[in-house]
Protein backbone atom coordinates (compact mmCIF):
# COMPACT_ATOMS: atom_id res chain seq x y z
CA UNK A 1 0.00 0.00 0.00
CA UNK A 2 1.16 3.49 -0.73
CA UNK A 3 -0.01 6.54 1.16
CA UNK A 4 0.06 9.78 -0.74
CA UNK A 5 0.56 12.75 1.50
CA UNK A 6 -1.00 16.05 0.52
CA UNK A 7 1.39 18.74 -0.57
CA UNK A 8 -0.60 21.86 0.13
CA UNK A 9 -3.76 23.25 1.67
CA UNK A 10 -5.80 23.14 -1.56
CA UNK A 11 -5.61 19.36 -1.65
CA UNK A 12 -7.11 18.94 1.82
CA UNK A 13 -9.45 21.94 2.00
CA UNK A 14 -12.44 19.61 1.80
CA UNK A 15 -11.00 16.61 3.64
CA UNK A 16 -12.51 16.05 7.06
CA UNK A 17 -9.64 14.08 8.61
CA UNK A 18 -7.08 16.66 7.59
CA UNK A 19 -9.28 19.55 8.70
CA UNK A 20 -9.46 17.91 12.13
CA UNK A 21 -5.70 17.46 12.20
CA UNK A 22 -5.16 21.16 11.41
CA UNK A 23 -7.64 22.20 14.08
CA UNK A 24 -5.80 20.06 16.59
CA UNK A 25 -2.50 21.71 15.72
CA UNK A 26 -4.02 25.19 16.05
CA UNK A 27 -5.54 24.28 19.40
CA UNK A 28 -2.11 23.24 20.61
CA UNK A 29 -0.69 26.55 19.39
CA UNK A 30 -3.43 28.56 21.09
CA UNK A 31 -3.11 26.55 24.29
CA UNK A 32 0.57 27.27 24.35
CA UNK A 33 -0.12 30.97 24.14
CA UNK A 34 2.12 31.07 21.10
CA UNK A 35 0.87 34.17 19.34
CA UNK A 36 -1.39 37.22 19.32
CA UNK A 37 -3.10 38.96 16.44
CA UNK A 38 -1.70 42.42 15.72
CA UNK A 39 -2.04 45.08 13.05
CA UNK A 40 0.20 44.79 10.05
CA UNK A 41 2.72 47.57 9.58
CA UNK A 42 5.11 47.99 6.69
CA UNK A 43 8.32 48.22 8.72
CA UNK A 44 7.99 44.72 10.18
CA UNK A 45 9.12 41.76 8.13
CA UNK A 46 6.40 39.10 8.08
CA UNK A 47 7.27 35.45 7.62
CA UNK A 48 4.98 33.11 5.73
CA UNK A 49 3.64 29.92 7.24
CA UNK A 50 2.76 26.66 5.56
CA UNK A 51 0.90 23.49 6.45
CA UNK A 52 2.86 20.25 6.37
CA UNK A 53 0.90 17.00 6.32
CA UNK A 54 2.11 13.65 7.54
CA UNK A 55 0.27 10.36 7.78
CA UNK A 56 1.51 8.36 10.72
CA UNK A 57 1.25 4.61 10.30
CA UNK A 58 1.17 1.67 12.64
CA UNK A 59 3.86 -0.97 12.11
CA UNK A 60 1.38 -3.03 10.06
CA UNK A 61 0.87 -0.17 7.62
CA UNK A 62 -2.60 0.94 8.71
CA UNK A 63 -3.22 4.60 9.40
CA UNK A 64 -2.56 5.68 12.98
CA UNK A 65 -3.01 9.41 12.74
CA UNK A 66 -3.24 12.36 10.40
CA UNK A 67 -0.76 14.94 11.58
CA UNK A 68 -0.79 18.52 10.38
CA UNK A 69 2.01 20.78 11.42
CA UNK A 70 2.15 24.51 10.93
CA UNK A 71 5.68 25.57 10.04
CA UNK A 72 7.22 28.98 9.56
CA UNK A 73 9.23 29.59 6.43
CA UNK A 74 12.38 30.08 8.45
CA UNK A 75 14.53 30.33 5.36
CA UNK A 76 13.15 33.84 4.83
CA UNK A 77 14.49 35.04 8.16
CA UNK A 78 17.43 37.41 8.25
CA UNK A 79 20.25 37.11 10.78
CA UNK A 80 20.40 40.02 13.21
CA UNK A 81 16.81 41.05 12.41
CA UNK A 82 14.63 37.99 12.93
CA UNK A 83 17.08 35.89 14.88
CA UNK A 84 20.46 35.97 16.58
CA UNK A 85 21.63 32.60 17.83
CA UNK A 86 20.24 29.33 16.52
CA UNK A 87 22.03 26.46 18.22
CA UNK A 88 20.95 24.30 21.12
CA UNK A 89 23.33 22.00 22.97
CA UNK A 90 22.61 18.27 23.15
CA UNK A 91 23.97 15.78 25.64
CA UNK A 92 27.03 13.81 24.61
CA UNK A 93 26.58 10.06 24.25
CA UNK A 94 29.29 9.58 26.91
CA UNK A 95 27.19 11.60 29.34
CA UNK A 96 24.15 9.40 28.80
CA UNK A 97 26.20 6.20 29.15
CA UNK A 98 27.90 7.54 32.29
CA UNK A 99 24.49 8.29 33.74
CA UNK A 100 23.36 4.73 32.94
CA UNK A 101 26.53 3.21 34.44
CA UNK A 102 26.20 5.33 37.58
CA UNK A 103 22.52 4.50 38.03
CA UNK A 104 23.25 0.78 37.65
CA UNK A 105 26.11 0.94 40.09
CA UNK A 106 23.96 2.71 42.69
CA UNK A 107 20.92 0.55 42.00
CA UNK A 108 18.83 3.55 40.87
CA UNK A 109 16.15 3.33 38.22
CA UNK A 110 16.33 5.48 35.07
CA UNK A 111 13.20 7.14 33.70
CA UNK A 112 12.30 9.03 30.56
CA UNK A 113 9.96 11.88 29.68
CA UNK A 114 9.20 13.23 26.25
CA UNK A 115 8.08 16.81 25.72
CA UNK A 116 5.25 17.09 23.18
CA UNK A 117 5.86 19.84 20.65
CA UNK A 118 8.92 20.89 22.65
CA UNK A 119 9.86 23.72 20.36
CA UNK A 120 6.50 25.40 20.74
CA UNK A 121 7.40 25.98 24.39
CA UNK A 122 10.42 28.09 23.54
CA UNK A 123 9.96 31.78 24.35
CA UNK A 124 11.33 34.07 21.65
CA UNK A 125 13.78 36.81 22.47
CA UNK A 126 13.31 38.58 19.14
CA UNK A 127 10.17 40.14 17.60
CA UNK A 128 8.88 37.77 14.93
CA UNK A 129 5.69 38.19 12.88
CA UNK A 130 3.97 35.54 10.78
CA UNK A 131 1.08 35.49 8.33
CA UNK A 132 -2.18 33.81 9.28
CA UNK A 133 -2.35 30.15 8.26
CA UNK A 134 -4.18 29.31 5.06
CA UNK A 135 -7.76 28.18 5.61
CA UNK A 136 -7.89 29.48 9.16
CA UNK A 137 -7.88 33.24 8.71
CA UNK A 138 -9.68 35.05 11.51
CA UNK A 139 -12.96 36.58 10.36
CA UNK A 140 -12.86 40.32 9.63
CA UNK A 141 -9.16 40.39 10.47
CA UNK A 142 -7.69 38.90 7.33
CA UNK A 143 -5.18 41.71 6.97
CA UNK A 144 -3.81 41.24 10.47
CA UNK A 145 -0.69 39.24 11.34
CA UNK A 146 0.43 37.22 14.32
CA UNK A 147 3.14 38.39 16.62
CA UNK A 148 4.91 35.37 18.09
CA UNK A 149 5.58 35.03 21.79
CA UNK A 150 6.82 31.49 21.41
CA UNK A 151 8.60 29.61 18.65
CA UNK A 152 6.97 27.86 15.71
CA UNK A 153 8.45 24.90 13.88
CA UNK A 154 10.78 26.00 11.12
CA UNK A 155 11.99 29.17 12.79
CA UNK A 156 15.72 29.51 12.84
CA UNK A 157 15.87 30.13 16.57
CA UNK A 158 13.45 27.43 17.70
CA UNK A 159 16.01 24.97 19.18
CA UNK A 160 17.75 27.79 21.03
CA UNK A 161 14.45 29.15 22.33
CA UNK A 162 13.43 25.75 23.70
CA UNK A 163 16.79 25.18 25.39
CA UNK A 164 16.63 28.63 27.04
CA UNK A 165 13.14 27.86 28.28
CA UNK A 166 13.93 24.48 29.83
CA UNK A 167 17.20 25.82 31.25
CA UNK A 168 15.37 28.68 32.98
CA UNK A 169 12.69 26.36 34.34
CA UNK A 170 15.19 23.89 35.77
CA UNK A 171 17.14 26.69 37.49
CA UNK A 172 13.87 27.93 38.95
CA UNK A 173 13.28 24.40 40.29
CA UNK A 174 16.63 24.67 42.13
CA UNK A 175 18.60 22.52 39.73
CA UNK A 176 22.30 23.16 39.26
CA UNK A 177 23.71 22.99 35.75
CA UNK A 178 26.98 21.11 35.29
CA UNK A 179 29.84 23.39 34.30
CA UNK A 180 31.34 20.90 31.85
CA UNK A 181 28.11 19.49 30.32
CA UNK A 182 25.41 22.12 29.91
CA UNK A 183 22.64 19.56 29.38
CA UNK A 184 23.21 17.87 32.75
CA UNK A 185 21.44 19.13 35.85
CA UNK A 186 21.52 17.95 39.46
CA UNK A 187 19.44 18.75 42.51
CA UNK A 188 20.12 17.79 46.09
CA UNK A 189 17.48 18.93 48.55
CA UNK A 190 18.98 17.31 51.59
CA UNK A 191 22.26 15.59 52.36
CA UNK A 192 22.65 12.31 50.50
CA UNK A 193 19.63 12.76 48.25
CA UNK A 194 20.38 13.43 44.62
CA UNK A 195 18.48 13.65 41.36
CA UNK A 196 20.27 13.87 38.01
CA UNK A 197 18.57 15.06 34.80
CA UNK A 198 19.87 15.02 31.26
CA UNK A 199 18.19 16.99 28.47
CA UNK A 200 18.39 15.72 24.92
CA UNK A 201 16.32 18.30 23.05
CA UNK A 202 12.80 17.03 23.79
CA UNK A 203 13.83 13.86 25.58
CA UNK A 204 14.53 13.96 29.28
CA UNK A 205 16.36 11.16 31.07
CA UNK A 206 16.42 11.27 34.85
CA UNK A 207 17.56 9.16 37.75
CA UNK A 208 18.23 9.60 41.44
CA UNK A 209 18.49 8.14 44.89
CA UNK A 210 14.92 8.60 46.07
CA UNK A 211 11.75 7.42 44.33
CA UNK A 212 9.82 10.18 46.06
CA UNK A 213 12.07 12.89 44.61
CA UNK A 214 11.82 11.33 41.18
CA UNK A 215 8.03 11.39 41.13
CA UNK A 216 8.09 14.93 42.49
CA UNK A 217 10.34 15.96 39.59
CA UNK A 218 8.01 14.27 37.11
CA UNK A 219 5.08 16.18 38.58
CA UNK A 220 6.94 19.49 38.28
CA UNK A 221 7.70 18.83 34.63
CA UNK A 222 4.23 17.61 33.69
CA UNK A 223 2.62 20.63 35.29
CA UNK A 224 4.64 22.98 33.14
CA UNK A 225 4.82 21.19 29.78
CA UNK A 226 2.71 18.80 27.72
CA UNK A 227 4.58 15.57 28.33
CA UNK A 228 4.42 11.88 27.58
CA UNK A 229 5.57 9.82 30.53
CA UNK A 230 7.59 7.03 28.93
CA UNK A 231 8.25 5.31 32.26
CA UNK A 232 11.45 3.33 32.69
CA UNK A 233 14.13 4.23 30.16
CA UNK A 234 14.01 1.52 27.48
CA UNK A 235 15.02 3.07 24.15
CA UNK A 236 17.26 6.06 23.65
CA UNK A 237 19.26 7.33 20.65
CA UNK A 238 19.01 4.02 18.86
CA UNK A 239 20.08 2.05 21.91
CA UNK A 240 17.97 -0.47 23.77
CA UNK A 241 18.26 -0.31 27.54
CA UNK A 242 17.13 -3.16 29.74
CA UNK A 243 16.85 -2.49 33.48
CA UNK A 244 16.66 -5.46 35.84
CA UNK A 245 16.76 -5.76 39.62
Amino acid sequence: MCIIEPENYQEVARDKAWQEAMKEELEMIEKNNTWELVKRSIDKPVIGVKWVYKTKLYLDGTIQKHKARLVAKGYAQKSGIDYNETFAPVARLDTILTLIALAAQKGWKLFQLDVKSAFLNGVLEEDVYVEQPEGFEVKDAGHKIYKLRKALYGLKQEPKAWYSEIDAYLSMCKFKRSTSEVTLYTRSVQEGNLIIVSIYVDDIVYTGSSERMLSEFKREMMQRYEMSDLGLLHHFLGMRILQTD
Binding site: T98, A101, A103, A104, G107
Partner: protein, 137 residues
Protein backbone atom coordinates in the same frame (compact mmCIF):
# COMPACT_ATOMS: atom_id res chain seq x y z
CA UNK B 1 21.98 -4.44 9.17
CA UNK B 2 23.76 -7.56 7.90
CA UNK B 3 20.89 -8.30 5.53
CA UNK B 4 21.15 -4.75 4.18
CA UNK B 5 24.57 -5.74 2.89
CA UNK B 6 23.49 -9.23 1.80
CA UNK B 7 25.53 -10.84 4.57
CA UNK B 8 22.78 -12.26 6.76
CA UNK B 9 24.11 -15.79 6.25
CA UNK B 10 27.82 -14.98 6.32
CA UNK B 11 30.29 -17.09 8.27
CA UNK B 12 31.32 -15.47 11.55
CA UNK B 13 34.93 -14.71 12.46
CA UNK B 14 36.21 -14.29 15.99
CA UNK B 15 38.16 -11.05 15.68
CA UNK B 16 37.21 -7.94 13.68
CA UNK B 17 40.51 -7.39 11.83
CA UNK B 18 43.05 -9.88 10.47
CA UNK B 19 46.11 -9.92 12.73
CA UNK B 20 49.28 -8.47 11.24
CA UNK B 21 47.48 -6.89 8.29
CA UNK B 22 48.28 -3.21 7.87
CA UNK B 23 45.88 -1.11 5.87
CA UNK B 24 47.14 1.86 3.92
CA UNK B 25 45.67 4.42 1.57
CA UNK B 26 47.24 3.12 -1.63
CA UNK B 27 47.76 -0.62 -1.57
CA UNK B 28 47.93 -1.57 -5.24
CA UNK B 29 44.53 -3.22 -5.34
CA UNK B 30 41.59 -2.05 -7.46
CA UNK B 31 39.20 0.66 -6.34
CA UNK B 32 36.02 -0.56 -4.65
CA UNK B 33 32.43 0.76 -4.65
CA UNK B 34 32.80 3.93 -2.57
CA UNK B 35 29.07 4.31 -1.89
CA UNK B 36 28.76 0.80 -0.49
CA UNK B 37 31.92 1.22 1.57
CA UNK B 38 30.61 4.43 3.11
CA UNK B 39 27.31 2.75 3.93
CA UNK B 40 29.07 -0.11 5.73
CA UNK B 41 31.32 2.23 7.71
CA UNK B 42 28.33 4.44 8.58
CA UNK B 43 26.45 1.42 9.92
CA UNK B 44 29.48 0.32 11.92
CA UNK B 45 29.82 3.82 13.39
CA UNK B 46 26.25 3.53 14.65
CA UNK B 47 27.17 0.26 16.35
CA UNK B 48 30.16 1.80 18.13
CA UNK B 49 27.66 3.68 20.34
CA UNK B 50 27.23 0.45 22.32
CA UNK B 51 30.11 -1.69 21.03
CA UNK B 52 33.56 -0.57 22.17
CA UNK B 53 35.02 -3.74 20.62
CA UNK B 54 34.23 -2.32 17.16
CA UNK B 55 35.71 1.08 17.89
CA UNK B 56 39.25 0.55 16.66
CA UNK B 57 38.32 -1.31 13.49
CA UNK B 58 35.63 1.20 12.57
CA UNK B 59 37.81 4.22 13.18
CA UNK B 60 40.55 2.58 11.08
CA UNK B 61 38.14 1.84 8.21
CA UNK B 62 36.73 5.35 8.30
CA UNK B 63 40.10 6.75 7.25
CA UNK B 64 39.64 5.23 3.80
CA UNK B 65 36.21 6.66 3.07
CA UNK B 66 37.83 8.58 0.21
CA UNK B 67 38.83 6.10 -2.46
CA UNK B 68 38.51 2.74 -0.74
CA UNK B 69 40.23 -0.22 -2.43
CA UNK B 70 39.18 -3.85 -2.68
CA UNK B 71 41.44 -4.61 0.28
CA UNK B 72 39.67 -1.97 2.40
CA UNK B 73 36.32 -3.39 1.34
CA UNK B 74 37.50 -6.88 2.31
CA UNK B 75 38.47 -5.62 5.76
CA UNK B 76 35.10 -3.86 6.16
CA UNK B 77 33.20 -7.02 5.25
CA UNK B 78 35.32 -8.98 7.68
CA UNK B 79 34.19 -6.65 10.48
CA UNK B 80 30.61 -7.42 9.49
CA UNK B 81 31.41 -11.14 9.79
CA UNK B 82 32.73 -10.44 13.27
CA UNK B 83 29.43 -8.66 14.04
CA UNK B 84 27.61 -11.78 12.83
CA UNK B 85 29.39 -13.86 15.47
CA UNK B 86 28.80 -11.35 18.26
CA UNK B 87 25.18 -10.27 17.71
CA UNK B 88 24.31 -10.92 21.35
CA UNK B 89 27.03 -8.65 22.76
CA UNK B 90 25.88 -5.78 24.90
CA UNK B 91 27.23 -3.80 27.81
CA UNK B 92 26.26 -4.79 31.30
CA UNK B 93 26.40 -2.29 34.11
CA UNK B 94 26.00 -3.96 37.48
CA UNK B 95 25.19 -2.83 40.98
CA UNK B 96 27.44 -2.80 44.02
CA UNK B 97 30.74 -2.97 42.26
CA UNK B 98 33.41 -0.84 43.86
CA UNK B 99 32.73 2.67 42.65
CA UNK B 100 36.27 3.16 41.41
CA UNK B 101 36.78 5.07 38.23
CA UNK B 102 39.10 3.02 36.05
CA UNK B 103 40.67 4.30 32.85
CA UNK B 104 42.69 2.56 30.16
CA UNK B 105 44.72 4.33 27.51
CA UNK B 106 47.21 3.20 24.91
CA UNK B 107 48.80 4.36 21.68
CA UNK B 108 50.56 2.51 18.87
CA UNK B 109 53.45 4.97 18.47
CA UNK B 110 53.50 6.06 14.85
CA UNK B 111 51.56 3.03 13.65
CA UNK B 112 50.22 4.56 10.44
CA UNK B 113 51.83 3.33 7.21
CA UNK B 114 50.77 6.52 5.45
CA UNK B 115 52.01 9.33 7.67
CA UNK B 116 53.62 7.73 10.72
CA UNK B 117 51.09 9.26 13.07
CA UNK B 118 49.88 7.39 16.15
CA UNK B 119 46.47 5.99 16.95
CA UNK B 120 45.39 6.13 20.56
CA UNK B 121 42.42 4.76 22.39
CA UNK B 122 40.80 4.84 25.78
CA UNK B 123 38.02 3.27 27.84
CA UNK B 124 36.58 4.23 31.22
CA UNK B 125 34.40 2.34 33.68
CA UNK B 126 33.15 2.40 37.26
CA UNK B 127 34.22 -1.18 37.78
CA UNK B 128 31.72 -2.91 35.48
CA UNK B 129 30.75 -1.97 31.90
CA UNK B 130 32.66 0.74 30.08
CA UNK B 131 30.76 4.01 29.57
CA UNK B 132 33.18 6.06 27.53
CA UNK B 133 35.58 4.95 24.84
CA UNK B 134 37.24 6.13 21.68
CA UNK B 135 39.91 5.37 19.14
CA UNK B 136 41.50 8.44 17.61
CA UNK B 137 44.27 8.97 15.13
Amino acid sequence: MLSKFGLEDCKPVSIPLATGEKLKKVDGSEMADEGLYRKIVGSLLYLTATRPDLMYATSLLSRFMNGPTKIHMGAAKRVLRYVQGTLSYDIEYVRDQSATLIGFYDADWAGSEDDSRSTSGYAFSFGSGAFSWASVK
